[in-house]
């Protein structure tokens, strides 16, 4: 049924996550389905609290209490020695998971300062993952591998002797990226890896990532709230709102011609990295309280184009434009009483907002 296509690495269907139990439960991720191709880059965008981090921590079974996976199916195609094997991530035992962690899926977290053990030198972080996952490597081989990995992200080998707090924010995040690539995983997940960095470092790291990915060919799930950053890196972008996917499209199409009012709002919240100055408008209001989500489309209280149907009925994620992209919005329903505004209907080959 799932993951029959040998070019897919990951297939997720109808995935839901709650925080808390029974009556107290808050639905953080609802009915998310997607698949990720080998060596592809999937961008996940959305405001804080949209469920994007919860989604990836859920998929990798790293969710902490009180997070509970309530529904779904997640399959991962393994690589290397276990090539061709498909593992059911949600049914996997602790031992199964331990075997694929870091060697098949690795993670880069938002704050490298918090993600690195403050009492360990950088060298020890590398040594540990290499030793735990490959007992055949000698101490000097591990050391050599660590130096190669640091060189990959443009860091000097002497950084191995440093403690995390002795490095700059950009260096720390580069260390995290090098660490994530240590075992050549086929899937790397990055949870807002550049959010805590200044814009210049952000750009450097994103272009380095681009290069690394070309060279090493790992698939990447990149989470951010900065759509303009994503468009340079991602093949495809998913926009999440209130725990659901509201729009999914090839990166450039989404950026040039958004179809969901929320995507449009997100784009207007960030200045383009190049081109003319444009007015930042942002999105009025704030994300819904997930404990008492509004009826109908969760975005309708903040949406300029909301009509009656939006207030009562939840729009499904439907394919539009010959299946090349999908959107969950009643505006694009053929029966919509409201005409689709120009900003949400322009063609993907135009250049809005000064983007070249």
């Amino acid at each position: 049924m799932s993951l029959t296509d040998a070019n897919l690495v990951l297939h997720v269907s109808n995935f839901s996550v709650d925080y808390g139990y029974a009556d107290e439960a808050i639905r953080a991720v609802t009915d998310v389905s997607f698949s990720l191709g080998r060596s592809r880059v999937l961008g996940v965008a959305g405001e804080s609290g949209s469920g994007k981090s919860t989604l990836v921590y859920g998929l990798t079974r790293l969710l902490r209490a009180p997070g509970v996976i309530t529904a779904g199916d997640v399959r991962l195609r393994l690589s290397g020695a276990r090539e061709g094997e498909i593992i059911d991530l949600l049914a996997a035992t602790e031992d199964d998971l331990r075997a694929i962690r870091w060697s098949e899926i690795s993670i880069v977290m938002q704050s490298a300062l918090n993600a690195l053990n403050p009492l360990h030198k950088i060298g020890k972080e590398f040594d540990e993952v290499l030793r735990v996952h490959d007992g055949r490597l000698s101490k000097s081989q591990r050391r050599q591998r660590a130096e190669e990995l640091l060189a990959l992200v443009g860091l000097q080998p002497d950084r191995l002797q440093r403690y995390p707090h002795e490095l700059s924010g950009g260096q720390r995040q580069r260390v995290m990226i090098a660490l994530a690539l240590a075992l050549r995983p086929q899937l790397v997940i990055m949870d807002e890896p550049t959010t805590a960095l200044d814009v210049v470092t952000q750009r450097e790291i994103v272009s380095e990532l681009h290069e690394l990915r070309e060279r090493l060919g790992f698939a990447l799930i990149f989470i951010t709230h900065d759509l303009s950053l994503l468009v340079e890196l991602a093949d495809e972008i998913m926009v999440m709102y209130a725990g659901r996917i509201v729009e999914r499209a090839p990166a450039l199409d989404l950026y040039r011609a958004p179809r969901h009012p929320y995507t449009l709002g997100l784009m207007e919240s960030f200045p383009p990295l190049s081109g003319e100055r444009v007015a930042m408008t942002g999105i009025p209001g704030s994300p819904p309280n997930l404990k008492t989500p509004p009826a109908g489309c969760p975005f309708h209280p903040r949406c300029a184009y909301a009509h009656d149907r939006c207030r009562n009925e939840m729009p499904p994620l439907n394919d539009i434009e010959d299946g090349g992209r999908s959107v969950a919005c009643w505006l694009h329903d053929p029966a919509s009483p409201v005409e689709v505004p120009v900003s949400l209907s322009r063609r993907g080959d135009t250049t809005p907002g000064g983007v070249k």
């Binding site: 998971l97 962690r101 993600a115 403050p118 009492l119 735990v132 700059s168």
Partner: protein, 339 residues
């Protein structure tokens, strides 16, 4: 960042440690000076009072010693006396105990080993057991193992004298499982023989158990709480994501969580002498605490002063030990803030 910055930062850490050492030395000097000045400021004639207390059991040498202690009858200037006092102190001469008629340094050095042996060992044992339990109960937080928390809180709130007395009543007086009091069988004489050592160990069991029991819960709760806090840190989640074994993940958390406890252990050892007071009274055990109570009761000022100096030095020494331990255990203390 300069390539030699690690050395600069390393040196900075040592400098910090040396600065702390200087502060402790200054504090020690202040205490010594106050110790010298106080008896000389006492109103009335404390010497006559003391000699009166001894009710004739007093030799001319003792009177001279007492007078010297209070700076009288020597016709020396305050400054000369002060230099003399410091010189004496440097040679380990703390004066002569009035009630015990022997040098204070001899009295202290014969009694301190009882205190170190009982209170010190008790502190270290309860630290290790309590911390290990804390790691375990922190790791299993939210499970049924949490039922120990209220029990531990209760145990922690029981005053020591109450716990000690109850233990004696039940296990020594009623069940006769342990000797009632003392440090060894009174029919034996102190010597390096197996019988004597076995007796010391036997008599030490109940007091040691009482110390461990009363301080165990504190270590356990402190470590558990630190463990729970540390386990919500990203680097622990990272350890799981890296596919490390459960034990390794626990080690990542515990190694970070134990830092405050280690500092506390050093400080607890600083309270060794004052902490020994209740234990030694309740179990009628020899040691510095017992000595202190007797010295207060008999107004044995030279002995009191000696004990106070001992307390000051253990507290200062333990504080410095805590600083040094932190320096070794936490690399962040070794470097100045970089950013």
């Amino acid at each position: 960042m300069a390539s030699n910055s690690i050395d600069e930062k390393g040196n900075h850490g040592v400098t910090t440690l040396l600065r702390r050492l200087a502060i402790y030395l200054f504090t020690a000097w202040t205490t010594i000076t106050v110790n010298f000045v106080l008896p000389r400021l006492m109103p009335g004639d404390p010497i006559q009072q003391l000699i009166g207390k001894l009710q004739g059991r007093v030799t001319p040498e003792m009177i001279a010693a007492i007078k010297a202690q209070f700076g009288q009858g020597l016709n020396q200037s305050m400054w000369t006396q002060y230099v003399h006092y410091l010189t004496q102190l440097l040679h380990g001469d703390l004066g002569v105990s009035i009630t015990l008629s022997s040098p204070v340094s001899d009295v202290l050095s014969s009694q301190i080993w009882w205190t170190v042996g009982l209170i010190g060992v008790g502190a270290v044992v309860s630290f290790f057991i309590g911390t290990a339990l804390g790691v375990f109960f922190g790791w299993t937080r939210g499970s049924r193992a949490d039922v120990v928390i209220p029990a531990a809180t209760f145990l922690q709130s029981v005053p020591y004298y109450f716990l000690g007395t109850i233990l004696i009543m039940i296990f020594a007086a009623t069940l006769h499982w342990f000797p009632l009091m003392g440090a060894y069988d009174p029919t034996l004489s102190p010597e390096w023989s197996w019988t004597y050592i076995a007796s010391v160990l036997r008599y030490g069991e109940l007091p040691l158990a009482s110390i461990v029991l009363s301080s165990l819960a504190g270590w356990m709760l402190g470590m558990r709480n630190m463990m729970v806090t540390t386990m919500s840190e990203d680097f622990v989640l990272m350890a799981v994501a890296k596919g490390l074994s459960r034990r390794r993940v626990m080690w990542h958390a515990a190694r970070n969580a134990v830092l405050p406890s280690v500092a506390n252990l050093a400080l607890t050892i600083g309270l060794l002498v004052s902490g020994s007071l209740l234990v030694e009274q309740i179990f009628n055990y020899p040691g510095v605490g017992n000595l202190l109570v007797n010295a207060v009761g008999n107004e044995d000022y030279p002995l009191l002063q000696g004990i106070f100096l001992l307390i000051t030095f253990t507290v200062l020494g333990a504080n410095f030990l805590a600083d040094a331990l932190y320096y070794v255990l936490d690399p962040r203390t070794r470097t100045a803030a970089v950013h």
